[in-house]
Symmetry: C2
């Protein structure tokens, strides 16, 4: 069976180009909009979307020729599918972010250009060097993640060799955080204040936390993989959630109130008015941080959406580790640089669940096969939970963990009828968990279940962040 | 014929590790040396040297397995040689540069740590954000060059597709240059001052010049390739030349004078004394710029030297495009960021010569085969100039260019005995030029000739820079 690239609706795409151009050009026209760089970012994102839609199928054969290809494990056909096309997404993403640099600093550039050559008095215009180093260190981390992902695709690096690399990739981020004399104080939740007081200074521990955050974000998407569209749809929904969260902090021309008291929060949230709007409550710094996050998330959504079109069941291309690493690092970058790492982690609820569920296999308590993807049965065209076999009978620790998991409905065990020893267990991933809970289903349905669980996770995250957080913290915390 | 990795002298290597550690630890001990970060940089460079020596042969088989291998065109044996091991050099280089960040800013970090928590009066310690963004943008450009080089090795990108990428890779460099309100004035040489005046503001043209500089540096080393050790030895000698030039600007504890008047310069050069030394004449900014250059050049020399050990005739590993791109970009970075691009270009004399010589083939006047390396004859074990065949008789422009080249001794032509039309010409590279001038020689001898021509080029460069420049410019110019 030949698998042709999915056709591209040319009319819509060519219609998008003038729209994108308008958004890029708009900030140059009078009256200048209140957030000119955001217009340009939106324009660039549309260009990135079109570029991804076109380049991914166009470059597919090149990847196959370079031996970057794989068989789809959950299909009946053996057509080689181009692998690690996430590299194309990552390249488009990073190139557009680089070309965007002058726009991100357009305010200052215009003031530089307009400033008279010879200053008098104290009219000194400073370039926002700090913001530039934040931006550059973010690009650096993204590029290192791309590199690492692609090397992983080419060389198949062993996981203990690649584990330290995201930590090294985060050194520039941490250095910039330090250069800002970044806050390492943590606000203690209300119930623990009688022990620790209001603020605890974590010091170097806070840097460790940030380094681990990038390791977690890059790897957690990677281990929740295996079915068509799973990696990129996770990234897409997390990115959209981050964008929705950012929008809450922007100055909106309209004025409205969100009835937060319904969620249990004691404060009300008014949105509207320039520099005095949303959750920023007039803090220019907060607005700038969330704008920064938007500049990185908007093009990410574009490349993910463009890629998903070709990666959707039945997949024409595979993302490879490259896509997982670069998207994960993008989230770590905005979480750290825009200072909302706790909120960010809330959007990773399915990934955290998958990671915790996987721990017995990751740490060697339960045998971990090379692939833990669900098992495909060609007769029914359905996916079933895949199983891991115990060569020797498991230790008592493993047995008790698996029994608890089984009682909680997280896994299905095959027990020896006479000795009661565990013979088999379903692989401990969220995908197999869905199949255990909801029964066998098609690959297309399973990825939809995954997507809805991710959406549900984000809804829960917003509820916790803006509702329940009011019970644990006083005032408004990030 | 099996080609075993070249043996490593373990005693020397293990002896180097304590020396390296001492250099890294030394800045932490009292009395702190006057240039602490330079000590650490030297220590890191020794570590990078040892790491390259060990990792290059260790990772060779991994590259062969990933289909990154090639036959040595100028040998009798067919053993596959691991290709694009320059990636290992580039990774070690960039990782050490990242780990070095805290040391480069150690002065400020120590002052941050010692500063009292609550400031009084106007005692504000500023982090050198600008220097940090210079450093980060340099890393970003290096990483993009590495990425591009490796993609070129994996996908064999067509040259017109890859040409714009170094330009995009230099956007962060240019942005940082702009952020510093970088000088775009050029000092006019004395003979032209009656036309242009003393200073000419090139404005945007200056940015174009810098973008083209990175394109030239990355590609010029790449086209001077083809024999064992050629790429990496060029990079090594240019890096050493840049280091020698940097050392002239450092504060030396000794005091001596270089008799520049012998070279025709009207000034004398005194070297010695802290902040009032060498060519810096007390300018702290100049000292810092050349320290920056040293931080990037010292580890480059280490990885190149380590790699050359395995790449020397008969080569056990090939560098691939990755090495050419990353070294070329490293030179562009220091040339732009430390503001000595003109001096830098002087160290590229053999590359400029090779580029000018290659122009008729690069621009399609003379047919350009896939490989222009010299021709190997197994019987004599010598290299002879390789030739390009004219399928149809060349245009009159091509004929006249080739005849001029032939008169200058740059090429050898085969002329039709009756019509006088050019039938063949030697390929227009510096390697074939050497073979035309000095007759056939072995590969090992040819690479030595190349090395000596590079050394001679650097000697000429220093003469021009510190001698003849005095005739064209007044005072001291960079």
């Amino acid at each position: 069976m030949a698998l042709n690239p999915r056709p591209l609706p040319k009319v819509i795409l060519f219609g998008l180009l003038p729209v994108a151009s308008w958004f890029v050009v708009r900030p140059l026209l009078d009256p200048v909009p209140s957030l000119p760089a955001l217009h340009a970012s939106l324009g660039f994102s549309i260009f990135a979307f079109v570029a991804t839609l076109y380049l991914v199928p166009a470059l597919g054969p090149t990847f196959v020729k370079a031996n970057l290809k794989g068989k789809d494990l959950l299909k009946t056909y053996y057509t080689p599918i181009p692998e690690s096309l996430g590299l194309v997404c990552a390249s488009i993403y990073i190139l557009f972010l680089i070309l965007f640099i002058p726009f991100a600093f357009s305010n200052t550039i215009i003031r530089f250009a307009k400033a008279p050559q010879h200053h008098e008095g104290i009219d000194v215009i400073e370039f926002p060097h700090y913001q530039l180093s934040v931006y550059l260190s973010s690009l650096l981390s993204l590029l290192m993640a791309t590199m690492l992902g692609f090397l992983d695709d080419v060389f198949d690096i062993r996981w203990r060799h690649k584990l330290p690399i995201p930590i090294i990739a985060s050194v520039p981020l941490l250095m910039v955080y330090f250069a800002e004399r970044g806050n390492t104080n943590v606000v203690v939740p209300l119930p623990f204040r009688f022990i620790f007081g209001t603020l605890v200074n974590l010091g170097p521990l806070y840097y460790t936390y940030m380094a681990l955050l990038s390791t977690f974000c890059t790897n957690s998407i990677n281990i929740l993989a295996g079915i068509n569209g799973s990696e990129v749809s996770q990234a897409l929904i997390i990115a959209v959630s981050v964008i929705l969260n950012d929008l809450l902090y922007l100055p909106w021309p309209v004025d409205f109130r969100i009835p937060l008291y319904l969620l249990g929060n004691r404060t009300e949230l008014g949105v509207g008015g320039v520099w005095h709007a949303g959750m920023s409550y007039g803090s220019r710094e907060l607005v700038e941080r969330h704008l920064f996050s938007l500049y990185f998330m908007l093009p990410l959504v574009s490349v993910c959406a463009g890629f998903l079109y070709h990666n959707w069941y039945p997949a024409r291309v595979f993302p490879g580790d490259t896509l997982c690493y670069v998207t994960g690092m993008a989230f770590a970058v905005v979480g750290i640089q825009a200072h909302f790492s706790k909120t960010l982690l809330l959007f990773f609820i399915p990934q955290v669940f998958n990671f915790l569920l996987s721990c017995p296999q990751l740490f060697g308590l339960v045998p971990c096969p090379r692939h833990r993807v669900p098992r495909f049965e060609p007769e029914t065209n359905l996916l079933y939970p895949s199983k891991t076999l115990f060569q020797k009978s498991p230790s008592s620790l493993t047995t008790s963990i698996l029994r608890i998991f089984s009682i909680l409905g997280l896994t299905e065990l095959t027990i020896h009828p006479t000795t009661g020893a565990i013979l088999e267990s379903t692989n401990l991933t969220i995908l197999n968990f869905f199949l255990v809970r909801f029964g066998p289903m098609s690959e297309k349905k399973l990825v939809k279940v995954l997507i809805w669980s991710q959406v549900a996770g984000s809804v829960l995250a917003f509820t916790v962040r803006y509702g329940l957080a009011g019970l644990l913290y006083d005032g408004d915390r990030r």
